[in-house]
């Protein structure tokens, strides 16, 4: 990472007063947006710019999983870059670090949502109070089908500049009453893409109000100076970046592993206990944040073309989109399958993985091929323990016994995959699953559902079936288990395809170019 020559500049009195909490400086070369020039100067100081500020949401370095692994690989791989990691976590819990950060990365204090901590205080400054209260502005910026991004950005910047005002504003009677009036208007909006919004009761209104309070709190957290903002999801993680970008014009890179809005909708669809009002809040909030992030991002880097299609569909500027597929370190030699009729599945026990369909597939396969065996490797997703229990019960009801076994977590995914003849994936939602890349690396074919980027990855080296189609998936598995020659051919193709398209070096090179381009202002 290039470190630009930061001009040491004495701070103005206003700077000392107002911006004292922003450590160091941003000395990026980009031209700041209109209105940001004055603030840009404010952020300069004696300290060298640290490079890239990566903002994560519920993942790195506190949780395991695909996104966290990707963050770790990217940070370790781009060792010439200085990274600062700003995680956003759910508060009220002590977080344990699951990854050891490399020497070129520094972990910042996490932003804890729903914690009991009070907003930070800053020296009060004279400011023009907006006619519209903060909760109402955030509501109008985030919840309508088409929010006002500029006013949203201004409101979020106001939270950063006057954090001490957030709590009093949200606790005031006037704000609450104005919010209720505005919410009534927002819910009454008509749009061709949306049926009438559900009616909210007072509790749901209060819940949304509380959520917006945490949006404001997240915006208020100071971000360190940096040359590039790298956001790993277009949701909560984007909020500090939106403010930073609005203040200093720092370029913003968004990597989308899964499409945030899509996942929010999936979650609300899956959650049967959710009331219509709750089911409206979460996806709409995601939509508002996502659209604001797409509008502000300089580059949107989905991991697969399937995500890019969603992004374009959601209104992202196609010129901003640059697909950078995930990659792994491939072995140099192919490994032979054991021909043990063993099927491996890797992933968390989570409704998105549709483990129940997988068990039905196993049931059908073992009926047709009694010596086939299935192993499911991976822990239950935190918060999905009920689903995991339901899977265990279904396993008992189907009488699968040793034919399908839940194996738990593994530290050796490659070894696990090598021990099987093929990899099975029944997910209803995926972006670019690492399990498939790992299967290709071990020359194993895969049978997978046609979701997200899966068909593009598996082109010519696996079998694709519609999600939830037990018979088609089972037929795919039986076909490959019963025809080792075909399986070996597909495995070889996968190995070669991985070497051509999905190596880690290729992925890192993509990001290296992108980051360099964004920091220097060169075309990306």
């Amino acid at each position: 990472m290039k470190t630009t020559n930061a001009q040491t500049q004495s701070l103005s009195p206003e700077t000392r007063n107002g911006m004292a909490r922003l450590r160091g400086a941003t000395d990026c070369d980009q031209t700041p947006p209109a209105g940001a020039a004055q603030r840009q100067g404010v952020a300069r100081s004696r300290k060298r710019a640290p490079g890239v500020l990566m903002i994560t949401e519920g993942t790195y370095p506190y949780a395991t999983g695909g996104v966290s692994s990707w963050c770790d690989v990217l940070i370790s791989g781009l060792e010439e870059t200085q990274w600062e990691i700003l995680p956003i976590t759910a508060g009220g819990r002590r977080m344990r670090q699951r990854f050891t950060l490399p020497a070129n990365a520094r972990l910042l204090r996490p932003i804890e949502l729903w914690s009991e901590n009070r907003p930070r205080r800053r020296m009060p400054r004279i400011h023009v109070r907006s006619d519209v209260s903060l909760p109402t502005r955030l509501l109008r910026g985030l919840m309508p089908w088409t929010g006002d991004h500029q006013d949203l950005a201004d409101a979020l910047v106001g939270c950063r500049e006057r954090p001490q005002m957030i709590r009093p504003e949200f606790r005031s009677r006037d704000s609450w009453e104005a919010f209720l009036r505005a919410l009534d208007e927002v819910l009454g909006e008509k749009h061709a893409d949306s049926a009438p919004a559900p009616t909210f009761d007072a509790i749901e209104a209060a819940r949304l109000y509380q959520t917006l309070y945490w949006v404001a709190r997240t915006a208020a957290v100071p971000t360190p100076p940096c040359e590039l903002l790298h956001v790993t999801a277009a949701g909560w993680a984007a909020i500090p970046a939106l403010v930073h970008k609005a203040l200093y014009g720092t370029p913003l890179l968004l990597t989308e592993h899964g499409v945030y809005v899509r996942e929010a909708y999936l979650a609300s669809v899956r959650e049967a206990a959710m009331t219509p009002g709750q089911g409206h809040i979460s996806p709409r909030l995601a939509l508002g944040l996502t659209r604001a992030t797409y509008a502000a991002a300089d580059v949107i880097a989905p991991v697969t073309e399937a995500n890019a299609a969603w992004e374009r569909g959601l209104g992202a500027d196609p010129a901003k989109i640059r697909v950078i597929p995930n990659g792994i370190h491939p072995p140099t030699e192919r490994s032979d399958p054991p021909n043990a009729r063993k099927v491996i599945a890797m992933g968390r026990v989570d409704p998105l993985k549709d483990v129940q369909t997988m068990m039905l597939v196993a049931e059908e396969v073992t009926r047709r091929m009694p010596d086939a065996r299935f192993e499911y490797w991976g822990p239950a997703t935190p918060g999905q323990e009920t689903y995991a229990l339901a899977c265990t019960r279904m396993h008992e009801e189907l009488g699968l016994g040793d034919r399908f076994r839940f194996m738990g977590r593994t530290d050796d995914p490659h070894g696990v995959i090598r021990s099987g003849d093929l990899v099975l994936m029944t997910s209803i939602s995926e972006a670019m699953p690492m399990a498939l890349l790992e299967a290709m690396a071990q020359s194993r074919p895969a049978v997978a559902t046609s979701v997200g980027g899966v068909p593009a990855v598996l082109r010519g080296c696996g079998i694709i079936a519609p999600p939830g189609d037990v018979h088609a998936l089972a037929t795919g598995v039986v076909t490959l288990l019963g025809n080792p020659a075909l399986a070996a051919t597909l495995g070889r193709r996968g190995f070669d395809r991985l070497h051509r398209r999905y190596t880690l070096d290729r992925c890192l090179a993509g990001y290296r170019d992108l980051i360099r381009g964004l920091v220097t202002g060169a075309p990306v």
Partner: protein
């Protein structure tokens, strides 16, 4: 089934990026509209909300309704369902989804579910109440033997110092640990630090004070330990220990020995209570800032109790301790009733439309629970005070009505301050507590009355007057209480 991405659901045609151009305004979804003219008369968005008159994809509609159990609410929801369970790619799914949205459908009605508070927590409150009563009776019973053995000044001084400290610690413990589901585990995690701080900052300095210091140093852990033990569910064991200690004192055992043994046993039980609940937890304890503020507020209430010079703790026998009983029980009952806030306010606001979410109504849950709590406190205090006064001749206790009024006022003030603290209105609570103290301290200089407890009563009444209107003004709007006070702290 098919090799590579063509499965008969339009996959092959969609992954090449056709139709990718973003909508010009960046707001609408840019999926191909299949000739759907949004600006045409009769189309959605022109005010006439009718569905396009062309054949729907019955498969798509069936998939969406089967998965959602209802029609899709918007294009994105239908798209997600078609993609996840219909095997369609994003853009064809968006295109198909657009035809599935019924713009004339009635809004879905929300009905929030309200989960009741854990019964275990409520049970622990009852046990705490029983233990509290026994504690007060025990302290009352200790008065005579300690006074006889150590002199009248020792007990009086010890109580005047130990009581505020103990109340402060109890409030802090509740705020940071005991009011939380995993509070004991959090306390176990921090036990060494907590014990170290209490020993260094409270116990050692107290023990070094001649005469009454060691007694105060023993009273603090006995009282504070009771809070931990009742939270653990060991309230009755603790009560039994208190009774044994009281019997030992009354039977002429040396006061230091009996109190020392009581302290040691209480601390040992606390250690066991915390250690046996030391399963690892990721839950966080409350903030130090809030615990400190709670301690200050608790300390103020404690000082308020002991600062009135007309109350002779220990000097006049068991009077003050027994007179405290009615108000403590009343305050406890009122406080227990306030637990209903967490259930009843959401329950009362369920199905309330937005227009009613900020209405002022005295019949709404927040105000009715508040009034119910006050009535319980006052009612219990009055009835029990009458009983204690009536039994005064038999127990050789007090019959000074003013004392009961004073303690009743303190009970009420304590309840109100506790409410303000739980609503994160600590500044208002602190002002009320400090003003109450200031008036109590000033009272002997303002009045030459020697009515027992007059200063205490006036000070507490001032505190009540400062807090009551502000609380009632807020509580009259249940929606506001929930949104701006309970859920935003």
């Amino acid at each position: 089934m098919s090799q590579t991405p063509t499965n008969g659901y339009g996959h092959g045609a969609s992954s090449n990026g056709h139709g990718h151009a973003a909508s010009p305004n960046g707001h609408g979804l840019s999926a191909p509209t299949n000739g759907y003219d949004r600006t045409a008369p009769g189309s959605p968005g022109t005010g006439e909300h009718t569905r396009l008159d062309r054949p729907l994809d019955p498969y798509a509609e069936a998939i969406v309704e089967a998965r959602l159990g209802r029609p899709a609410r918007d294009v994105l929801e239908a798209t997600v369902a078609l993609e996840a369970w219909g095997g369609k790619f994003a853009l064809p799914a968006m295109s198909a989804a657009r035809d599935l949205i019924n713009l004339d459908s009635p809004p879905l009605q929300s009905r929030t579910k309200v989960e009741p508070t854990e019964e275990r927590e409520q049970e622990s409150v009852v046990a705490e109440g029983i233990t509290l009563v026994l504690l007060i009776l025990s302290v009352a019973a200790w008065a005579t033997p300690i006074r006889e053995q150590l002199g009248p000044g020792v007990l009086s001084h010890a109580i005047r110092v130990a009581l505020p400290i103990a109340v402060a610690l109890q409030w802090a413990l509740r705020s940071r640990y005991l009011s939380r589901r995993a509070g004991l585990q959090c306390l176990a995690r921090d036990s060494l630090v907590c014990a170290g701080l209490v020993i260094a900052l409270i116990e050692v300095p107290l023990a070094l004070i001649p005469n009454w210091g060691p007694v105060a140093a023993m009273m603090v852990p006995v009282w504070v330990g009771g809070t931990i033990l009742t939270r653990r569910g060991w309230g009755l064991m603790y009560a039994a220990v208190l009774v044994v200690g009281t019997v030992a004192l009354d039977s002429g055992q040396p006061a230091y020995l009996a109190l020392g043994a009581l302290t040691a046993i209480t601390l040992l039980m606390c250690l066991m209570a915390v250690r046996t609940r030391s399963q690892p937890t990721d839950e966080r304890a409350g903030t130090v800032r809030r615990a400190l503020l709670a301690a200050i507020l608790g300390g103020c209430v404690g000082v308020l109790l002991v600062a009135d010079p007309t109350l002779g703790w220990g000097v006049h026998g068991i009077h003050p301790a027994v007179a405290l009983l009615p108000s403590v029980i009343g305050s406890f009952w009122g406080g227990y009733y306030l637990w209903n806030f967490y259930d009843e306010i959401p329950r009362g606001l369920r199905d309330v439309p937005l227009g009613g979410a900020s209405r002022a109504a005295f019949g709404d849950p927040a105000m009715s629970i508040f009034v119910g709590a006050i009535l319980r406190l006052v009612g219990a205090t009055v009835v029990l005070s009458a009983l204690v006064i009536a039994a005064g001749g038999w127990t050789h206790g007090t019959d000074a009505l003013s004392l009961f009024v004073a303690f009743g006022c303190v009970g009420l003030l304590s309840l109100l301050i506790g409410m303000l603290e739980s609503f994160a209105l600590q500044r208002a609570a602190l002002i009320a507590a400090v003003m109450a103290l200031a008036v109590e301290f000033a009272w002997p200089h303002l009045s030459h009355s020697h009515v027992p407890g007059a200063g205490l009563a006036v000070g507490a009444a001032v505190g009540v007057l400062l807090t009551l209107p502000s609380l009632m003004n807020r509580l009259v709007r249940s929606g506001r209480v929930l949104a701006t006070m309970l859920w935003i702290q």
